[in-house]
């Protein structure tokens, strides 16, 4: 535990009243400077913003809008570019798990929303990440209806495969990878989906359709291409490895090589 000392900070926060419209989204809002004292090093970054918000309300100013929910690094709600880094300076950490002890007293901190064409700003620091949901809807699933499955131990899965699937499945869908990428590419997120299912026997049945559909959906949403900068891996709070991107590329090429099925109807249930 840290002692009773408190910190004083200068914050520059992106304030934007209305949803982004212009392609040049930096026109829709502005940075506003706030001074904040009495910050405890034991506070999380979001608790620090809570304190600022309470003070703003008392002064009659509208509080800063930001997404958050679990506050323990698992729901993927929180975001924030902190001094130009998604989720701030600490690796493997979401903004809600970042503590003020990572900053020094008197620090000046710049706080902005994720910036990407596919993630329009909703208000202040909140963005619209529904593009991720639509990509998932295109095929990041195994087509199995409720109630038709066999015994869970019927198909053994080698531990190494299960672990590899798991490592990819830990993605929390926060979007930091997109925000970190100069091309606003979603390859790490989508690659994580592909990799998760690829390493499980249950997931391999639909590998071709999945690879095709996910890549098509990702392009349609306006995410950029991958030029191997690896910024995504460095920013990812769950440390999803870039190998998933290589896996996805391989799966996509493989799917292209395998002939398209006669009916282009997506493999799915009976809806």
């Amino acid at each position: 535990m840290t002692g009773n000392t408190t910190m004083k900070l200068i914050l520059h926060v992106w304030r934007q009243q209305k949803r982004s419209t212009a392609a040049d989204f930096k026109q829709d809002g502005r940075m506003v400077r706030y001074e904040l004292d009495g910050v405890s090093p034991d506070m999380s970054f979001l608790e620090m913003l809570d304190v600022l918000n309470e003070r703003l309300i008392r002064k009659g100013e509208e509080p800063i809008v930001f997404d958050h929910d679990c506050r323990e690094g698992i729901c993927g709600s929180c975001s924030l570019m902190i001094d130009g880094e998604p989720h701030g300076p600490q690796s493997g950490t979401t903004t809600c798990q970042l503590h003020m002890r990572s900053f020094r007293d008197g620090a000046e901190i710049w706080i902005e929303p994720w910036r990407a064409k596919a993630f329009p700003v909703v208000k202040d620091l909140m963005v619209d990440r529904s593009a991720f949901d639509r990509v998932v809807q295109a095929g990041a699933f195994i087509s199995v209806n409720t109630g038709v499955s066999q015994d869970a131990n019927a198909i053994p899965v080698p531990k190494a495969d299960a672990d590899r699937a798991f490592d990819a499945a830990t993605c929390i869908g926060c979007g930091a990878c997109v925000a970190a990428c100069k091309n606003a590419s979603a390859m790490l997120f989508v690659g994580a989906k592909v990799s998760h299912f690829l390493h499980l026997p249950q997931g391999r049945v639909e590998r071709e359709t999945r690879a095709r559909n996910l890549v098509a959906a990702m392009d349609k949403e306006g995410f950029g291409n991958c030029t191997n900068q690896n910024e995504c891996e460095a920013a990812c709070p769950k440390e999803i490895p870039v190998r998933v991107i290589a896996e996805m590329n391989r799966e996509f090429l493989r799917a292209k090589a395998v002939e398209e099925p006669p009916s282009k109807k997506r493999v799915g249930g009976d809806g």
Partner: protein, 636 residues
């Protein structure tokens, strides 16, 4: 209020089959003519919405997060129970049933609990088929761990993030249906009322959180899967935005609220660090598989943990409950922690903490084995406290975690409003007065995947599809009420922030309706809450307008409901003049052990709304124990 539990006939193991056979079926070709609204996208909601759509119903699903994947279920850590008996250690459906009834301190309905145990095995099959990456052994088969209140290993897990992996499975199933246009998804949308037409739930009122638009949705039935109300305490392990609004507003429309005083205080959470604290973080119960709980034997011993020799440590759970030891159920472990802290033996700056120590298991199994089991939890702990749990014991303390109370439902999961079904933590059904670890995930998924798809058909078969349209005056009236409340909250323009009120309420609840309750304290709490509620409606400050995202406005509506609900909770606690499970009354105890009163309280208390919490009427559903015989719960 009529409480017909609709428990099917037959022996306990035949009841669910009997019920499934009795229920009327909806002809497959007719299913698409019925519309069902599912509010919530956690384990219960996502599984229900996906399964109902697979059957062919038209489904609309709602959540207030920006994506259905972010529902609070995502945060569950430790695991999910199932009576698979893969360990060959004596588990069975009957044993899981028995453990759950006993763990719930004989305050749950036997028939429901048996069905839950029966369905538990199907959940694991379903999840594996969806690609949920549960932990496996080297042979490629599924691994298990132990949880509190059980002497068998029946908990399936996915490192420390079982909730996220199970929810992603259900979310994937839901997403597949959304992609096929069988489910229409409404994220960032908050349900603010149920529309009741001719006594049946036929729709909801929602507010689009981005545009502020207030809309109604009409349907043939409504399913609430809106989670628990632990945040009435302000500080809890729940996600920040969890709230009671959906169930409370349904209650105001006529749905009975059962056992609101049953809340679970989890023994292993990270202690509060200061006034700025916005939520508490759980350290999964699974840690008690390998961690030993202790405090110094001597009062006020301020030495570092490592400097206290073994013979000056009190491993009090092992001492008091030798057969369950560190895996005593949550209510018992929490109270034991409180007792040692009350004795002045608590650790840390505040004296409100106990140690959870991994020294011995690290010596026995090695650091790597412990890291493989709990790595992400240790990591989380280190981040929050800046202490290394590999080299010094964790400091932990009890915190509000789960709510066993909820809307009353019959065996079909239907509330007292016909057509309004309730699944997951939002209902009161299966855990009685105390929930065993790893049983909430099981219940949410059993309800959503395997119960509601059958039972809702029984209701719908008796309804003409689309019989009520949104033009009925009840819809406009309900929407106008919601608009009026929004306007009122924005118009008060007082001085105190919403969080300020919420924190004050939380302190009242924690000190008087938390770990231990007394007649005097509860009466004081009721008066204090009433006064606070009055002040709220005079002095709350909600800035901005209702036309863009306004998080203070959202919170204000939720806190307004907590301020009513908290009073009902205290009244329920006051009227339950016994101690059972998570409800501990100072007046009813034997040396710190709960004293149940089966003569007078072997029932679920179900509250009927009559205009204000103080006027609510208490009804009873008598509970019958025909299989697991009423006995004093002992873990010694």
């Amino acid at each position: 209020m009529k409480l017909d539990s609709k428990i099917p006939s037959g022996a306990i193991h035949e009841k669910w089959s009997n019920r499934k056979f009795e229920l009327k079926l909806v002809n497959p070709a007719n299913k698409r003519k019925y519309k069902v609204l599912v509010v919530g996208s956690g384990l219960a909601g996502a599984s229900a919405a996906a399964s109902l759509a697979e059957l062919g119903y038209q489904v609309e699903c709602f959540c207030f997060q920006d994506s259905p994947r972010r529902a609070h279920s995502i945060a569950a850590q430790g695991g999910i129970n199932a009576a698979k008996n893969y360990r060959n250690d004596g588990d069975s459906v009957y044993r899981l049933f028995y453990d759950t009834v006993k763990g719930g301190d004989f305050r749950a309905r036997e028939a429901n609990v048996y069905r839950l145990a029966e369905l538990s095995v199907n959940i694991i099959d379903q999840a594996v088929a969806q690609g949920v990456p549960f932990a496996r052994e080297y042979g490629g088969l599924l691994d298990n761990r132990s949880f509190g209140g059980a002497q068998v290993s029946r908990t399936f897990y996915a490192r420390g993030q079982t909730g996220q992996q199970l929810l992603l499975g259900a979310y994937a199933a839901l997403s597949r249906q959304i992609g096929q246009r069988a489910v229409k998804m409404f994220p960032r949308t908050e349900m603010l009322d149920v529309v009741v037409v001719d006594g049946h739930a036929k729709g909801i009122v929602v507010r689009d959180l981005q545009t502020g638009e207030i809309r109604t949705h009409a349907a043939d039935a409504v399913v609430l899967c809106t989670g628990g109300y632990g945040n009435v305490f302000y500080l809890s392990t729940n996600a920040k935005n969890c709230n009671v609004t959906a169930t409370w507003r349904a209650h105001r429309r006529g749905a009975g609220f059962a056992n609101p005083c049953y809340t679970q205080i989890h023994p292993t959470c990270i202690p509060v660090s200061g006034d700025h604290q916005s939520k508490l973080t759980l350290m999964s119960e699974s840690l008690r598989n390998d961690g030993r709980v202790w405090v110094p034997l001597k009062k006020g011993d301020k030495r570092k943990a490592a400097d206290i020799p073994d013979n000056e440590r009190d491993y009090y759970l092992e001492r008091k409950y030798p057969s369950f030891g560190n895996l005593a159920p949550r209510d018992i472990a929490s109270r034991a922690a409180m007792t040692v802290c009350d004795e002045g033996r608590g650790i840390g700056d505040t004296g409100l903490g106990v140690y959870l120590d991994f020294r011995d298991s690290i010596q026995r199994l090695g650091k790597d084995a412990i890291a493989a089991r709990y790595g992400n939890l240790f990591h989380m702990y280190a981040k929050i406290t800046a202490e290394d749990p590999y080299s010094q014991p964790m400091r932990i303390f009890p915190a509000v975690h789960y709510t066993m109370g909820g809307l009353w439902v019959d065996y079909d999961l239907q509330s007292t409003i016909p057509g309004l079904f309730v699944c997951g933590e939002a209902n009161f059904s299966d855990h009685g007065a105390n929930r065993l670890g790893a049983s909430a995930l099981m219940q949410g998924l059993a309800d959503g995947y395997f119960v509601i798809p059958y039972t809702i058909g029984g209701y719908l078969a008796g309804q003409k599809p689309g019989s009520v349209d949104g033009k009925r005056p009840e819809f406009a009236q309900a929407a106008a009420n919601v608009a009026e409340m929004t306007k009122r909250l924005l118009g008060i323009k007082g001085k105190r922030t919403v969080d300020d009120f919420h924190r004050t309420l939380g302190k009242i609840m924690w000190s008087k309706c938390g770990m231990a309750r007394s007649e005097k304290g509860l009466r004081e709490a009721i008066a204090a809450i009433q006064a606070l509620r009055g002040e709220f409606w005079q002095d709350v400050r909600v800035l901005g307008d209702g036309m863009t995202i306004n998080q203070s406005l959202e919170k204000a509506g939720r806190v307004a409901d907590f301020l009513e609900f908290g009073e009902l909770m205290c009244r329920d606690a006051l009227e339950r003049r016994e101690s059972c499970g998570g409800h501990f009354r100072d007046e009813w105890q034997d040396d710190g052990e709960a004293r149940r009163d089966d003569q007078n309280f072997c029932h679920a208390a179900v509250w009927e709304h009559k205009g204000a919490p103080k006027d609510a009427v208490r009804h009873q559903e008598q509970l019958h124990f025909e299989n697991v015989h009423l006995a004093v719960r002992s873990y010694k």
